[in-house]
């Protein structure tokens, strides 16, 4: 069964068409990559899925439920988490608090319990703290647990960004260029995490990435966007041989 269906999505800002008639299907348990030159509309597409933009035309379905007009917090409550390209962390808080914030919707106690803080609130907080610890363990963030996010290095912040999305316990994880601006070692780390997320946790991954080497190696399916249109799709092998894709990336002779 298809997990996420994007049908005929068009997004225009005035006269500019950021996306035009994009069709995609995301299969459960796979790593689906979206690639394309700068300004091709990759991030716009992710913004449409996660609710920051609403498509001008077309629909997006998640397990047959429409989320075309859902707001970001509704989308994340449905089980679609998003890691941002430009770090959007809560920089004044510790790593721990950043991750605990992602548990927001799972903390089911009332305001009055929170003020009195005994019994229910305390227990649920502790449970979710344990969940967060699990993610910290998984993403190898132990040394930074209590440090302020704003003071951490870029590579670690990127890891925190992915970890925070993971803490939402999503079914689908949208990763927007998780490897941008990193050195080879850090990239290898993130690739390992992405593959672990898919294999160990069974989370569907949608990856937007510029590093073609990484994308070709780990993706199960690739969509190529150019000027807001899908110009090619399929397995990495198929895409690599697609003349349109070669034209978009390398140019015509």
């Amino acid at each position: 069964m298809t997990q996420l269906t994007i049908s005929d999505v068009t997004l225009s800002f005035g006269g500019l068409k950021a996306l035009s008639k994009v069709n995609m299907t995301i299969e459960p348990g796979l790593i689906t990559s979206v690639i394309g030159p700068n300004g091709a509309g990759k991030t716009s597409l992710l913004n449409c899925i996660s609710g920051f933009y609403h498509p001008t035309r077309g629909d997006i379905f998640y397990k047959e439920k429409p989320l075309t007009h859902a707001s970001p917090h509704q989308v994340s409550n449905m089980g679609i988490a998003r890691a941002f390209q430009n770090l959007e962390l809560f920089s004044g808080l510790s790593v721990l608090d950043n991750l605990l914030l992602a548990r927001h919707q799972n903390l089911k106690y009332s305001f009055w319990h929170a003020i009195l803080f005994f019994g229910k609130a305390s227990r649920i907080e502790a449970e979710n703290r344990a969940y967060v610890e699990d993610v910290i363990d998984f993403m190898e963030l132990e040394p930074y647990r209590k440090s302020l996010v704003g003071n951490l290095s870029y590579g670690v912040q990127k890891k925190v960004e992915v970890a925070r999305a993971l803490t939402l316990a999503p079914d689908i994880l949208l990763l927007d260029e998780p490897m941008a601006g990193m050195n080879l070692e850090e990239k290898e780390d993130i690739v390992r995490f992405v593959m672990d997320i898919q294999k160990e946790r069974g989370i569907t991954v949608v990856l937007v990435e510029h590093d073609l080497g990484v994308v070709m190696d780990i993706s199960d399916r690739i969509y190529v966007l150019d000027f807001g249109e899908v110009i090619g799709s399929g397995t990495p092998k198929e895409v690599a041989q697609n003349p349109k894709v070669i034209e978009a990336y390398i140019g015509e002779e």
């Binding site: 959007e88 962390l89 004044g92 808080l93 903390l107 929170a114 803080f117 610890e133």
Partner: protein, 364 residues
């Protein structure tokens, strides 16, 4: 393994619930308890005159108000320059009851705790309504929206005959179990009441900040886009922040009405709003203990400036009123100095002092 529960060093948490404690060591808890007992004991021992008791009561009322302002401006990052108007809403809730049922009605004099809570909730309701522009507006524009609420409040009070057109509306003397609280014990009585309220509300905030209802405020301040993506409704959170601030302001307003035994509009002007904001900044935005430092420091400064100008005034021509000139001057100077040299406020000094003692007796 037996560990020394009095020091932070060498103790490790073995359960997540241990992390949630308010006091990490016995020492912390003891120091706090002793400090609290001293607060309750020193006033009867000192036997201050009514003038100084009023200053002390004023500080405590300002602490309640600034705790609310700190939640909305410090933690949620929404600048509110209409906070005195919310305090006014609380005070005028009591005043309205006085107008309708008479200022010596049993509800006013005997059920004053109920009145205080009602005023808090009325303040919260107004806070939520005024917070609605926060759904669309940000930063400076939101500040202007709260400013306009301040203006609307002042005009409504000044022009409605129901509110005596801003002239004083009297509030009757309250009763305690021992009978009517007379003129001599009035300020002392309210000192204990307000102190108790401050302690309750302080622990309330402390608990709130450990839970999602506190964290979501900080999330909205730091990055409301990300907060949205993490499953929080940023709009709702902002309205909730304003409602919370309104509640504290409402309680502070009701206390103000009872302590002064009257409500007049001049205590809730824009000038007072800026004053609350200054207290929050001097104390330290986004910290709980800052809400205690700020009002204490600024009100104390006010008192000292008054003393100084009294002394200096003897050497100056009597036509010059030094006190009225000195007060705004020092007030402005202190704020500018704090913004320049310690934008994180007195709470930062407290933090530094605490981090020195944390590892004691070891250096690192």
């Amino acid at each position: 393994m037996s560990t020394n529960q009095w020091l932070a060093t060498g103790n490790f948490n073995t359960a997540y619930q241990q992390e949630q404690r308010n006091f990490l060591t016995h020492l912390d808890r003891s120091i706090f308890s002793i400090f609290l007992i001293l607060l309750y004991v020193w006033i009867p021992l000192m036997d201050l005159s009514n003038k100084y008791m009023l200053v002390v009561d004023n500080i405590l009322i300002a602490i309640v108000a600034v705790m609310g302002l700190n939640l909305v401006t410090g933690f949620a990052g929404l600048i509110s320059i209409g906070h005195a108007a919310f305090v006014g809403i609380g005070a005028y809730t009591v005043a309205s009851f006085c107008q309708v049922i008479g200022d010596r009605h049993i509800i006013i004099t005997h059920f004053w705790p109920v009145m205080i809570v009602i005023s808090g909730f009325v303040g919260a309701a107004f806070g939520a309504v005024v917070g609605l522009p926060a759904l669309r507006l940000k930063h400076l524009y939101l500040a202007i929206a709260t400013l306009s609420f301040q203006m609307i409040f002042q005009w409504v009070i000044n022009f409605m005959s129901f509110f005596n057109q801003g002239q004083t509306i009297f509030v009757g003397r309250v009763f305690w179990f021992t009978g009517k609280v007379g003129r001599k014990d009035h300020y002392m009585f309210w000192y204990f009441v307000i102190l108790t309220i401050v302690v309750i509300l302080g622990f309330g905030i402390r608990n709130l900040l450990k839970t999602k209802y506190g964290r979501c405020l900080v999330a909205v301040r730091d990055n409301d886009r990300a907060a949205d993506a993490m499953g929080m409704n940023p709009g709702l959170t902002k309205v909730y922040a304003f409602a919370l601030a309104g509640f504290f302001a409402g309680v502070a307003g009701a206390l103000h009405a009872y302590v002064y035994r009257g409500v007049g509009f001049e205590s809730f002007t824009l000038h007072e709003s800026v004053g609350y904001l200054a207290m929050a900044i001097v104390g330290g935005l986004g910290t709980l203990n800052g809400s205690f430092w700020g009002p204490t420091a600024l009100k104390y400064l006010d008192l000292q400036v008054e003393h100084l100008s009294e002394v200096a005034g003897q050497y100056l021509p009597s036509t010059m009123n030094l006190s009225t000139a000195m007060k705004p001057f020092t007030f402005g100077l202190v704020i500018v100095l704090f913004l320049m040299f310690e934008p994180r406020g007195i709470a930062n000094w407290w933090r530094i002092a605490k981090s020195y003692t944390k590892l004691w007796p070891f250096r690192y």
